[in-house]
Amino acid sequence: MPIANYLYLAAILFTIGAVGVVVRRNAIVVFMCIELMLNAANLAFVTFARINGNLEGQIVAFFTMVVAACEVVVGLAIIVTIYRSRRSASVDDASLLKR
């Protein structure tokens, strides 16, 4: 099996995540799709670290994980705040600027 298969898998998972961000309306599911995209990028980093024979790619993947954790914490807090005031977690309902 060529090692590039991992890169193909990462590309496919990233694409699925991107579709999810566009298609789904529940803010929490949108967030999960963003997590999926970050994970796909991490897989590519780990694969490239193996191809290049040094650990820098793994370090970057490690930093990505920490940043993703921060992003989830703050993002979910924002979702909870919006839910408190608008009683909905749908991304379509947060349209105050439109009206």
Binding site: Y6, Y8, L9, R25, V29, C33, L36, L55, A69, V80
Partner: protein, 260 residues
């Protein structure tokens, strides 16, 4: 014709089997994440994708990252997602009806285009050399190798990341904190409210539930001096649930005959 197996090396047979079994499963789970209706099911499918990715990391000689992936992602992040789902609950946002006309068709076309672009780019890329592999840098163990890099060349980034984590924690606390608009009712407030209600019948508090020789519980109403059960002596919840016992069950038979 696109060559799908360019010259960046191959893996050993066991790893190939692992990949060919787990990769379709992870892609299926990721697709299912978009298609299932309930957000909880999406979360579970995403957890599965993350576990397969952790297995791939370990297969690719990134043992430390594989463990971190399981602990941080499937452990902490997905649990956080499930907690927020529990807080927010189920509402209309779970429906799969498309609100913008043609959005789904456009997004599928765009996804096929984008994915095709990525795949062809990867397949046409060349490195001009073989895969190096990590056996050399992982000689003393993967965790040690990562620690060596992390605390020498990337120590500044590491410190900045720690500041980011603290900031995120404080930010989440500030965002999720909500000021109470009124103070909680204390015993004093309840007493004042009872006296200001208009009628002073319940000013001294509601009667307690019945205490009988054969039964002593909150589900039996007390008897008024007239002999009738007092409905206010029972919690409204018990009454609504139908968990109330008639207090006449515990009256003495002779007394009942005397009343006649």
């Amino acid at each position: 014709m696109i060559n799908f197996a360019l010259d960046i090396g191959t893996t050993a047979a066991p790893e190939s089997y692992l990949f060919y079994v787990l990769a379709p499963l992870s892609v299926l789970a990721a697709m299912g994440m978009l298609l299932v209706k309930k957000a909880v099911h999406s979360a579970l499918l995403l957890a599965w994708v993350m576990v397969t990715l952790a297995i791939f990391y370990i297969a690719q000689e990134a043992l430390f990252l594989g463990i971190v992936q399981i602990v941080v992602y499937t452990g902490a992040v997905m649990m956080l997602f499930l907690f927020i789902l529990m807080l927010v609950g189920v509402d209309t946002s779970d429906s799969l009806v498309e609100t913008i006309k043609g959005l789904r068709a456009i997004s599928i076309v765009a996804a096929v285009g984008f994915g095709g672009l990525l795949v062809t780019l990867i397949s046409r890329a060349t490195f001009g050399r073989d895969v190096v592999g990590l056996s050399e840098v992982n000689e003393q163990g993967n965790a040690l190798g990562i620690a060596e890099l992390l605390f020498t060349r990337y120590v500044f980034a590491f410190e900045v990341i720690s500041a980011l984590l603290i900031t995120a924690a404080v930010g989440a606390m500030v965002l999720a904190h909500s000021q109470k608009t009124r103070s909680q009712f204390a015993q004093r407030d309840l007493s004042i409210a009872r006296f200001r209600k208009g009628e002073l019948k319940d000013a001294a508090g509601l009667p307690s539930s019945g205490v009988y020789a054969l039964h002593n519980a909150v589900d039996v109403p007390a008897l008024l001096p007239t002999g009738n059960p007092a409905p206010t002596s029972i919690s409204a919840v018990l009454e609504a649930r139908g968990d109330m016992i008639e207090s006449t069950n515990f009256q003495l038979k002779e007394e009942a005959e005397e009343d006649k």
